[in-house]
C-alpha cells in the first residue's frame, strides 16, 4: 500500500519536479539545442519550413520551430511575446503595434521577400486578362459583376453563369492585402464569398469549379488553374504574375513579406535572419515561387547548398538573371 501511495505522489509531483527551464520563450533549452519560435502567415509557412529544414545543416545547434495559422496568428503571438520571429504577409496595423509596445515588445519589421498575388480561374475559362477595376466589381461590396456575362465572358461548363467568388478567411494576410490592393481600404468584400481556410484550398476549389475565380500567393497557383494577366487602372499593359514582374514592380498586386522581431534581433535570431537574407536563404524563397527581397543569382554554389528542388530550379534561374538587373524597390511604390 505504501508503494501505491508513493507512486501516486510521484506522478503528482512529476511535472513540478522537472521544472520549466528558465526563459524558454527566448530560445533557451535544457539541452544544448537552442530553439527559435517562428509562427504566422500561411503564405510564408512553406518557405519558413524550407528555411528551417535547410538551416539544420547550417547550424545544427539551432532548431527553428515553424507553425502556421495566418498572419494574424503570428502577429498576436508577437504581441503576447510567445514567438521570436512572427511571419506576416501584411504590415502590422498601428493598433497592433500599440498593443505590442504596451506589452513591452517593440516589433521591428524585416522584408524577407515579395509575393505576387495571382488571380486565377478554371482552365476552361477563356478570360486572358482582367483589370483591377473588374476585380473590384467581382469582389467588392455592391459590385456590379455577379455573372460572367457581365464581364463579357462565356465560360464553358458554367451553366449558371454566376461567378463563384472564392476568398480567404479574414485573419489571413492575403485577404487583408487583397482588400487593400484591389478594393481599397474603405470597401468591404461582398457577402456570399466562399472563404477558404488556406491558399491551397482556394486553388483546389477553383481548379474543380468552372464558375469560380480566386486569388492566392503565386507560389500556390499550380498549373491546373489559369492565371489571367492583370492590368492596372492607369491603362498600362496587362502584366502576367511572375517572380520577375513582382521584383521589377510592374505587377500591380505584389506585396512584401515580413518577419517581425521584438526589437533589434540578437544572438541566434540575428544569425538566422541574416542567413535568411543571405544569398542562400533568398535562393530558397525563389525556389518556392516567391520573389527575393534583393537581387540574387542562384546558380552554382548557392543552388548546391539549398535543398534540391530540381523541378523548379531551371525556371527560377532564368528569372533571377532578369531580376538581378531590376531594382528591388517595394513593388507597391
Amino acid at each position: 500500500m505504501r508503494k501505491t501511495l508513493m507512486l501516486i505522489a510521484l506522478v503528482a509531483i512529476l511535472p513540478v519536479a522537472c521544472g520549466r527551464p528558465a526563459d524558454q520563450g527566448q530560445a533557451g533549452d535544457s539541452s544544448s539545442r537552442k530553439v527559435i519560435q517562428n509562427k504566422g502567415s500561411d503564405t510564408l509557412v512553406n518557405v519558413a519550413q524550407a528555411w528551417a529544414e535547410a538551416y539544420k545543416e547550417v547550424n545544427p545547434e539551432v532548431a527553428v520551430a515553424v507553425s502556421g495559422g495566418g498572419s494574424g496568428t503570428g502577429i498576436s503571438a508577437m504581441i503576447n511575446g510567445t514567438v521570436d520571429l512572427a511571419n506576416a504577409s501584411r504590415k502590422m496595423k498601428d493598433k497592433e503595434l500599440e498593443q505590442a509596445r504596451a506589452n513591452g515588445h517593440d516589433p521591428l519589421e524585416h522584408v524577407v521577400g515579395f509575393d505576387a498575388l495571382a488571380v486565377f480561374v478554371h482552365p476552361d475559362n477563356p478570360m486572358d486578362a482582367i483589370s483591377l477595376a473588374q476585380l473590384a466589381e467581382i469582389y467588392g461590396e455592391g459590385g456590379t459583376a455577379a455573372k460572367w456575362s457581365d464581364l463579357g465572358v462565356q465560360v464553358p461548363g458554367c451553366d449558371s453563369d454566376e461567378i463563384v467568388v472564392v476568398s480567404r478567411q479574414n485573419n489571413s494576410g492575403t485577404y487583408v492585402y487583397f482588400q487593400e490592393a484591389v478594393l481599397g481600404k474603405q470597401r468591404d468584400f461582398r457577402l456570399g464569398t466562399r472563404d477558404m481556410h488556406g491558399s491551397k484550398d482556394v486553388v483546389d476549389l477553383v481548379e474543380h469549379t468552372p464558375c469560380a475565380i480566386g486569388y492566392s500567393g503565386l507560389a500556390y497557383a499550380g498549373e491546373h488553374v489559369k492565371m489571367p494577366c492583370i492590368s492596372s487602372p492607369d491603362g498600362a499593359d496587362c502584366v502576367a504574375p511572375s517572380v520577375a514582374t513582382a521584383v521589377d514592380g510592374t505587377y500591380p498586386i505584389a506585396r512584401p513579406l515580413f518577419m517581425y522581431t521584438s526589437g533589434e534581433p540578437q544572438g541566434i535570431v540575428k544569425d538566422y535572419l541574416d542567413w535568411v537574407l543571405s544569398d542562400v536563404g533568398q535562393c530558397i524563397i525563389v525556389e518556392k515561387g516567391y520573389a527575393p527581397a534583393k537581387p540574387v543569382s542562384c546558380g552554382g554554389d548557392a543552388a548546391a547548398e539549398a535543398p534540391a528542388e530540381d523541378a523548379e530550379g531551371e525556371m527560377t534561374e532564368g528569372e533571377t538573371t532578369e531580376s538581378s538587373e531590376a531594382d528591388s524597390a517595394d513593388p507597391q511604390g
Binding site: 519550413q49 538551416y55 520551430a65 499550380g222 535543398p307
Partner: protein
Amino acid sequence: MFEATELNLQNQRRERLFRTLFLAMTLLLILPVVVILAMLVYKGGPMISMDFLLTEPTNGMTAGGILPAFVGTIWLVVVALIASVPIGIAAALYLSEYAPDNWLTRAINLAVINLAGVPSIVHALFGVGAFVIFFRFGTSILAASLTLAVMALPVVIVSTREALQAVPQAFREACWSMGATRWQTIRKVVLPNSLSGILTGVILEVSRTAGETAPIMFTGAAFFLPFLPETVWDQTMALSLHLFVISTQVPEVPEALPYGVALVLISLVLSMNAVSIAFRVYLRGKKKW
C-alpha cells in the same frame, strides 16, 4: 397438427423482413470502416517502409519520412495517459466506492457528463488559456498532453466507474464482513475484478488522444520541427496535425503521402488497442464469476 393461419404466415414474413433489415443496417455500419481501411491500405500501403517511419521529412515535407510526427504522437499519448489515468481512476473510485448519494455527488456526475460533451476545439482554447498562458508551460508537449488529458478524463471516469459497479456488491459485503476496510476491499477485491473494464476506458482514451488535432494545434504541435522532442517542455510534431497540414497547406504533395500518414496513424492506434485488448481478454479469462 398445427396449421399455419394467414396471421402466422404474415408474422413469419414480417419477422424475416425485420431480421434482414436490421442485418442490412448493421452491415451498412461496417461498410465505412471497411472502405476506409481498404482505401488507406491500397493508396497508402506503398508508402510504408522502415525508411518512411524512421527518417525526417525532406524537400518541404513532400518527401522523406514522418519520424518526428510519429515520435511526437507517442509522446503526446503517453504523457496524456500518465496525467489522466491516475486522476480518472481515483475520481471513479471515489464516486463509485465512497461517495454518498447527495447533491455534491450528483453535481460531480453532472459535471463529468458535461465535460464529455465539450467540443474538442473548446478544450483547445481552454488549454491555451490555462496551460500555455496561465501556468506558463508555453507551447509544449506538457501543455498539449494536459489538454488532451482533460478532454479524455470523462471517458476514463465513466468507463472506470461502470467497471467498478459491475463488480457484484456481494463481493464487497463478504470482504467487509471479514473486517476489511473500504480501501482494503478496493485494493484486494474491487480493483482486481474490474481491471479489464478499466482497460477498456484506457483503450478508448488512447484512440481518442492519438487522433485529436484541434486540442494540440494551439498548445504544443508545430507545423515543422527539425528535431525530435527530448523533454515535455519541447514542442512536437504530431501525426494528426501533420496529416492536416500536408493535405491542406503544402503544395505539390504526392497523393500517396497523406494516405501513408493516415495509415500509420490508424495502425498506431489499432496496435496500441490490440495490446490492451489482448491483456483484457487474458484478465477476463481469470474472472471468477
